[in-house]
């Protein structure tokens, strides 16, 4: 698993990359009450705003960490946004992306480096 400075995680799953946000991020955001996901089939470029998260406190944008095509979104979040708080690294995933350049993932931090950053 790789991590971005924006507190997203990226997990390689076959030829797809699964993207979510870290527990540190969900703790900072507080209770998540709404998640707006992108349309499946959307072609995205790194740093595009693809997801909107609303917590009890505020709205936040999630940027796509890599270029590619959105091939799946976590529909369960629409009805149960709290999944992002309860299981951020698992059932709280946001979207799966088919990368146009898989090497973009390599630029991100490993878990040890991410833990150092949030320490």
């Amino acid at each position: 698993m790789k991590f971005t400075e924006e507190h997203e995680w990226l997990l390689t799953e076959g030829d797809l990359i699964v993207v979510g946000i870290t527990e540190h991020a969900t703790t900072q955001l507080g209770d998540i009450v709404f998640v707006e996901l992108p349309e499946v089939g959307t072609t995205v470029t790194k740093d595009d705003e693809v997801v909107v998260i609303e917590s009890v406190k505020a709205a936040s944008d999630i940027l796509t960490p890599i270029d590619g095509e959105i091939v799946a979104v976590n529909e369960a979040l629409a009805d149960t946004p709290a999944l992002a708080n309860e299981d951020p690294l698992g059932n709280g995933w946001f979207f799966k992306i088919k990368p146009s350049d898989p090497s973009q993932v390599d630029a991100y931090m490993d878990e040890a480096a991410y833990k150092d950053m949030i320490a």
Partner: protein, 373 residues
């Protein structure tokens, strides 16, 4: 933030793990480890303890109660004179254009009025009273903290410290001994739940708060849940839902202006902006504060623009408070719309991230009030 003030409960908040934020010049707890959503639900189901010591506590005193009451009536369109002893009311200071300078609670404490005003307005309110009230003294109380205990368990919890708490009705005030301190207690609050606000000497504030928190039903609650609770309760937040540009009729607060101060009443008018406010009571205002229920799940927060139709250019109003209502289980908001749209069931539209999403105009409050009348 070196000039940020601390309430007498600051150390307790930190010890309880609160996230502290600056609010109206004070370091205040926005949430505790429980989190906003659970704190909100806990208050609705059991009881929450809030530190509201940042609010202004003021004594207005004349040669007798009537002198102080008549003086205060020159600044607020309320019936202060006929308020019975040991009773409290809601009111607001108005300005010459009929706008609201602040909202407040005032109580008849026998020989004086006890007034509670908003933290952000308190210096202005006190100066306003001192310069405009003749023949009375206006004194800010700075050696007392203010706690709020709110929720269905509040009565049992406070009665465990002093059984007299249970004999009070909604909007009663009383002096109660709690943990050995003389406390000024009102049966009121800002959550839509039954509960109390307790003015306690600063040196006893932590002892009292700790005694209340020792009860298994009581949890500490931060400003985050205080805001979602009052929003579900349909209660205005000064500086957001009401301000100097909104009049009481526009704000749907006519209920707080009694007959005695209206046209034809025993003491009609005689407060700043009376001509404008009384005309709007008689003939209606052009805009009105309403409850708004966004039909989707996306919260619509303060500042969201409102439209009559999905394709109109004209903005008809704005959301003044909005967010997620944990008890409602969905997004809720308040805002101002033209009076012809202020009809329950009307569908209007809010613009969120470039999209026009439907909103239903609804009645307030969003959750039923649970007062002990």
């Amino acid at each position: 933030m070196s000039d940020t003030l601390q309430t007498p409960l600051y150390d307790l908040h930190v010890a309880l793990g609160a996230k502290m934020v600056p609010f109206a010049g004070y370091a205040m707890p926005v949430q505790y480890p429980m989190g906003v959503m659970k704190e909100h639900t806990h208050t609705r189901e059991k009881a929450g303890l809030f530190d509201v010591s940042h609010m202004g506590q003021v004594i207005v005193k004349g040669s007798d109660f009537a002198t102080a009451a008549k003086a205060l009536e020159t600044l607020i369109p309320a019936n202060v004179l006929d308020l019975e002893q040991d009773r409290q009311r809601y009111g607001f200071f108005t300005n010459d254009t009929g706008g609201i300078m602040d909202d407040l609670m005032f109580a008849n404490r026998g020989d004086h009025l006890f007034v509670v005003v908003n933290a952000a307005c308190k210096q202005a309110d006190i100066a306003h009273m001192q310069s405009n009230l003749d023949g009375v003294t206006v004194t800010e109380i700075t050696d007392r903290a203010l706690l709020a205990l709110q929720g269905p368990s509040a009565e049992a919890v406070l009665a465990s410290l002093n059984p007299r708490a249970a004999t009070m009705r909604f909007m009663d005030v009383a002096t109660l001994s709690l943990c050995g301190a003389e406390c000024w207690v009102s049966r009121s609050g800002y959550t839509g739940e039954d509960g109390y606000e307790i003015s306690v000497p600063s040196d006893h504030a932590t002892i009292l708060a700790q005694a209340l928190l020792d009860h298994p039903d009581v949890a500490p609650i931060g400003l985050g849940a205080r805001d979602s609770l009052r929003l579900e309760g349909g209660l205005c937040l000064y500086g957001h839902d009401i301000d100097t540009h909104t009049t009481p009729p526009q704000a749907a607060l006519n209920w707080a202006i009694p007959k005695a101060r209206r046209t034809g009443g025993a003491r009609a008018g005689g407060f700043p902006g009376a001509a404008i406010i009384l005309d709007q009571i008689a003939n209606g205002a052009s805009t009105k504060r309403v409850g708004l229920l966004p039909e989707g799940r996306a919260p619509m927060r303060e500042g969201v623009q409102l439209f009559a139709n999905p394709d109109d250019d004209a903005v008809i109003g704005h959301v003044t408070s909005g967010g997620f209502g944990p008890t409602v289980g969905g997004p809720i908001a308040m805002g101002y719309v033209p009076t012809d749209k202020a009809v329950v069931g009307t569908t209007i539209f809010g613009e969120l991230r470039g999209k026009r999403l439907p909103i239903r105009v609804t009645t307030l409050p969003f959750t039923p009030a649970n007062f002990k009348r």
